[in-house]
């Protein structure tokens, strides 16, 4: 029997695809050292980077596996947002700007993959902050969790004899009504004339009005800015500012200007928040989990492969090749999408390996039946794949339904939104689709090519 041309083409495509996946899954650097008698050869191979440039579209995928907090280590904080004092119509904007402010605060840490997410639980609003790699929970909680209160106080006129005994708080005792909720943002700017750094402030419309009043009232006097009752700066008002945009200049260098902006931004929390959950996972624990999970996965995989060969012989061997292709494609997709791997995610992956084999078992049992009924091997194979397809389709649709309920793609608030359960659902979901592809399409074509002599 000859193999049709299309089958051969599919066969080579599968091989090519597997090879590409294999390359993507290589570590980014592979040092090779050869020392054998007189040969001394050392070379470090680098994984090719997959840079594409099509027109203005730049693709430079970072092909590293991403690990979630439970594996990489880090801190995760969940805050409850106190919305009791906010007006209902302002709430969406207040929440968004809260999120933005927290993100700015988090960025002070300089963590690349931090994430800030809002979620809703019935009437409650939650804010989840993930800080991978952070090992100092206290400073994180302090920076993010404490509702810093920003106030603007005008300088009072104090009689000359009282000046000596007056404290700072006596001097700046006139509340301008401005506070952190009026500040939209603060940034570092460079003065075009003096080329010295200064700090710019931008107020919202209500804040702009108050600021105009304050600047006219305290013209040529000072306004102190307090962060949690601690004065951080007290610039002299030089002009009346009507548009809500102000700059503070003075003896700033870039560093102190940046520090002041950070403090000002940190003070501008529109809604109070309080912490309800904190998690910290050390990096060593995470590494331990990864290595244990990977070891368990490999041992399990080896056992499954032995089981398949023991049960189905040559067919099992082909199914195992399909399984390896399955593993390669899955890992490649984890890198490309990218999927953030958590421990439940690894479990989902391990479980989906079991399910990938299921399609093959269904098919092979079907083939055996047909062979028992006296069909020739090749015909039995095609019938087996055809008949088993119905069962595979229905059974996997059911798994997809549950995985979707777990993944909760529409973010329904009555269903789970936690990263743990979702991490599991996403790997399970991916696993089902890829396993249908490898278990049915790949093994079928491998069998068509490899088993041509078997008739």
């Amino acid at each position: 029997m000859t193999t049709p041309k299309t089958t051969l083409q599919i066969f080579w495509t599968i091989l090519g695809l597997s090879f590409v996946c294999l390359v993507i899954n290589l570590p980014s650097e592979i040092p090779v050292k050869l020392h054998w008698q007189k040969i001394n050869w050392e070379h470090t191979f680098y994984r090719p980077s997959f840079k594409f440039k099509i027109g203005n579209f730049n693709l430079n995928p970072r092909l590293d596996l991403r690990y979630g907090l439970d594996l990489a280590g880090g801190a995760s904080l969940i805050f409850n947002v106190d919305t009791s004092k906010a007006k209902k119509e302002d709430l969406p904007i207040a929440l968004e700007s809260l999120k933005g402010n927290i993100e700015r605060r988090v960025n002070l840490f300089g963590i690349s993959e931090s994430s800030v997410q809002l979620s809703r639980q019935g009437a409650d609003h939650r804010l989840t902050v993930d800080l991978p790699g952070i090992d100092n929970l206290d400073s994180a909680v302090n920076l993010i969790g404490n509702t810093a209160r920003l106030t603007f106080m005008g300088e009072a006129t104090i009689s000359a004899e009282a000046t000596s005994s007056a404290t700072f708080y006596d001097v700046f005792s006139i509340d301008t009504g401005l506070n952190g909720s009026h500040l939209v943002r603060s940034a570092v700017a460079i003065n075009p004339n003096t080329s010295e750094p200064e700090v710019s402030l931008e107020f919202n419309s209500e804040g702009a009005k108050l600021f105009e009043q304050a600047t006219s009232k305290f013209l040529n006097r000072r306004i102190a800015i307090f962060l949690d009752e601690i004065p951080i700066t007290f610039p002299v008002v030089q002009t009346v500012i009507p548009d809500g945009r102000a700059v503070i200049n003075g003896n700033f260098d870039t560093k102190s200007a940046r520090a002041l902006t950070a403090q000002l931004n940190a003070g501008a929390l529109p809604l109070p928040i309080n912490i309800i959950q904190q998690t910290q996972i050390g990096a060593t624990l995470g590494k331990d989990s990864i290595s244990k999970g990977v070891r368990a996965g490999l041992v399990g995989l080896a056992l499954v492969m032995i089981f398949m060969v023991a049960n189905y012989g040559f067919l099992g061997l082909v199914a195992n090749i399909g399984l390896i292709v399955y593993g390669l494609i899955t890992l490649t997709l984890y890198r490309l999408i990218p999927v953030t791997l958590t421990f439940p995610g690894i479990v989902g992956f391990i479980l989906s390996v079991g399910m990938a084999v299921d399609s093959n078992i269904l098919i092979f049992e079907r083939m055996r039946e047909e062979i028992r009924r006296g069909k020739p091997w090749n015909a039995a194979m095609e019938i087996g794949f055809g008949r088993a397809w119905d069962s595979i389709k229905d059974a996997n649709t059911c798994t997809i339904i549950t995985a979707l309920v777990l993944f909760n793609p529409l973010n329904w608030s009555f269903l789970n939104t936690s990263g743990m359960v979702r991490g599991f659902a996403i790997t399970l979901l991916l696993g089902i689709f890829i396993s249908i592809f490898t278990g049915v399409f790949v093994t079928r074509n491998l069998l068509r090519v490899l088993a041509k002599q078997k008739t």
């Binding site: 206290d138 998690t279 050390g282 989990s289 084999v357 299921d358 049992e365 229905d394 599991f424």
Partner: protein, 287 residues
């Protein structure tokens, strides 16, 4: 082979398991992890400390009641206690540093009790939602409502037994109910239905060849044809999970055990619960 003659036996096994589960759930309840009860978990490493009683003494000194100390690897301990604030934690750290200079923190979690209740509510919502979706899907695919209902009932049977088993394991071996367990229940749902649908599918196929089907005979033939597949398939998943139980480490051991119980239950229930239920349904309708 006449599997259906074992129906009384299946009924006896299933009702015993369900009764034991219900008994354990109501009598002993669960051992909730901090995911459900609220509290703190602290995993620490004390390389120079051979005796965990010193840790207990530190906690006693600070007047923070420890609810449990369990070893988690080589000179690593998992401590559980009520919620503490940052100042309390700091003084604990300092006190522990005095006992062991190389003391280090591996993991620290605190959780308010509200999150656990939410999780429970959401899990029930997820079970109801997926039950309804599966009922509709299977009912439509097999053009027979009794198939959908039986599959869903078998699936609920499995999750009830799994929950019961965890109540028992919690009572006797200290297994805790945590958010991973929720994932395990939902996986059991899908694994159970997966298996049931394959058997149903075979019944549907065989039925096409019969004009007036004898349902019992049909069921027996279908089961005989798929039982090897069912067994082999479960074996592969069991092999994967067993390696996870043995090699996967402390934090996910109970999770893997829960999945293991779920998978075994799911394989059993498609033959022993779902099919008999369909037959029961058919018999009733014929009368």
């Amino acid at each position: 082979m006449n599997f259906m003659k074992f129906r009384p036996l299946f009924l006896a096994i299933s009702s015993t398991m369900i009764l034991v589960s219900l008994f354990s759930i109501f009598k002993w309840g669960f051992r909730p992890s901090i995911d459900f009860a609220g509290g703190s978990v602290w995993e620490i490493k004390t390389p120079n400390l051979s005796d965990q009683s010193k840790i207990t003494i530190v906690f006693d000194d600070q007047k923070i009641p420890l609810s449990s100390v369990s070893p988690a690897g080589d000179r690593q301990y998992l401590l559980k206690f009520a919620n503490i604030d940052q100042a309390q934690k700091k003084s604990l750290e300092e006190a522990l540093k005095k006992v062991d200079t190389d003391f280090s923190e591996l993991r620290f979690e605190t959780l308010g009790p509200t999150l656990g209740k939410e999780l429970l509510r959401k899990t029930i919502a997820a079970i109801i939602l997926s039950s309804l979706a599966l009922l509709l899907f299977i009912g439509r695919r097999f053009r027979d409502f009794s198939f959908g209902a039986s599959a869903v009932l078998a699936m609920l049977h499995d999750s009830l037994i799994l929950v019961g088993a965890f109540s028992l394991l919690g009572h006797f071996f200290g297994a805790e109910l945590d958010s991973l367990f929720v994932t395990a229940i939902l996986t059991t749902l899908s694994a159970s239905v997966h298996d049931t649908v394959v058997t149903f599918d075979r019944i549907r196929e065989l039925r096409r060849q019969d004009y007036r089907p004898d349902w019992v005979d049909l069921a027996n033939r279908a089961i005989s044809e798929v039982i090897v597949r069912s067994f082999n398939n479960s074996m592969t998943i069991i092999l994967m999970l067993l390696s996870l139980v043995v090699l996967g480490g402390q934090t996910t051991r109970w999770f893997a055990i829960a999945l293991l119980i779920g998978v075994i239950c799911g394989t059993y229930s498609s033959t022993a619960v779902a099919i008999p239920l369909v037959l029961f349904w058919k018999k009733h309708r014929q009368k």
